[in-house]
Symmetry: C2
Subunit: 272 residues, 2 copies
């Protein structure tokens, strides 16, 4: 763990109400290069598998991982690379898309709450309720009072989850505007990436600064010790992956789930 000291020190130093403008999206805090990152990731995911097994067997705590980012920020990628190696029986990924009519007919946390992981499971949110304070702000769909009301509702909701056995980790995958340009161009230029290109993404890119402001507000309003935001410099995908993996590994080690005790009298049983 000693070799991770610089990584964690850097990650933790920007955890409490981070200032996005001051964080270089190309940072690789304490990780040498791609090879170093990949070596570490292999070891980290092996340990994550063991930790997940114990979390599942103990069935006391749920772990909820929330991923938010600008378009092309790498949510799909980090989920595949870090959580892909885990036993899918214990991992539930939910991609929140544009709300359905039935979802719109309910309060915005209704569909979110329904997908919160059970004790023993790891829930992964690809987008989340943070879209409901992001898009309305950027597109001016809600007055400021309503947004403030939602920040409070979200804090209440996350506190309730924390008090009821669900641990939350929130990741903002932090890329630069130039890096987004490069990735969008790649989606246009490479046939096998064409399917990911949405013309609407170009319009959203025009609103880069507004989105940045909206994320900044989210981190100021909705960071708390029991549900912190981690800003992950994500211009380099290999750094993004190992940083997220290490944070999850640290948290699961902190929870330190243990296998339930063998049932009474088990030693005396014989299988015939």
């Amino acid at each position: 763990m000693k070799k991770n000291r610089q990584l964690f020190e850097s990650l933790d130093s920007v955890r409490d109400k981070p200032i996005l403008a001051q964080i270089d999206p190309s940072s690789v805090w304490g990780i040498k290069d791609r090879e170093d990152a990949e070596d570490r990731l292999e070891k980290a995911t092996r340990e994550l598998s063991d930790l997940q097994y114990r979390l599942y067997a103990e069935a006391k705590t749920g772990l909820l991982l929330i991923f938010q980012a600008m378009d092309t920020g790498g949510k799909d990628g980090v989920i595949r690379k870090v959580l892909g190696p885990l036993n899918p029986q214990g991992v539930e990924v939910t991609s929140f898309k544009r709300p359905t009519p039935d979802e719109l007919a309910h309060d915005y946390l209704w569909r979110i709450h329904s997908r919160v992981p059970a004790r023993g499971k790891i829930g992964v949110f690809n987008r989340s309720h943070y879209e409901d304070v992001l898009v309305p702000r950027v597109h001016k769909l809600a007055p400021k009072e309503e947004l403030n009301c939602r920040y409070r509702q979200i804090n209440d909701f996350e506190r309730h989850l924390g008090e009821n056995g669900v641990i939350l980790l929130k990741f903002y995958l932090h890329i630069s505007k130039d890096e987004q340009k490069r990735r969008l161009k790649e989606r246009l230029d490479k046939p096998e990436k064409n399917w990911k290109f949405e013309p609407a993404d170009l319009a959203e890119r025009e609103l880069w600064d507004k989105y940045r402001e909206a994320y900044q507000a989210i981190m100021e309003k909705c960071s708390s010790p029991h549900a912190p935001w981690y800003v992950i410099p994500s211009n380099r995908k290999w750094f993004r992956d190992i940083a997220v993996a290490e944070i999850i590994r640290r948290e699961l080690n902190r929870i330190n789930p243990s296998l339930p005790k063998a049932k009474e009298g088990l030693r005396d049983l014989k299988v015939k």
Copy 2:
């Protein structure tokens, strides 16, 4: 409505943190007798049907009715009598039983939130999240701090619903211990009521005073202007029914849902 003045004045006078011990379960505030009650109920449910139709068409507001009571208090009866006449397409009744393993693996509000009515619908809860502060207190399954934490979580949750288009009315059906005795005996004596008798109810009856205290605490901790508790004297079923019907009618009239405007150009269309 003038003839209901005494009824509403009495109901409203005990609405804000009511003291159960001071409310006579045999009260019939302003209602003359069974015949008077039944006449009024017929009129009230006719108007309720019209109001529900408009609520459904407007699809802006959800109405959530929560029913709690001691055993035999009459939850099933009042739901059948008052809400039975409404169009079932707009009414969703949920009876919360002992939690399933999947429900127990989540926070206690998980199953509750999933059943909150959509805008335009009337949701009816036969028992509710209040069981989760009632039973643990009576059976000493949770320390006081955890109960206090839950009262706060419930208030946060109900406020969130209120701020997101769901109006809550909470009904406590108030019967006397003698009336419960009479009703339990009836369940034992009448063959067609035998199926409702649970031997466990007798053990719970022994805990009458503890349940009463627990309800008193709920009303002190979880009454708020946007989600009030109504104590309904319920020894007389006919009074219970008309009192609940009138409260729902008054609330729907306050919401005053209106049919959406005809679509542009509708007048010029011809059906051939």
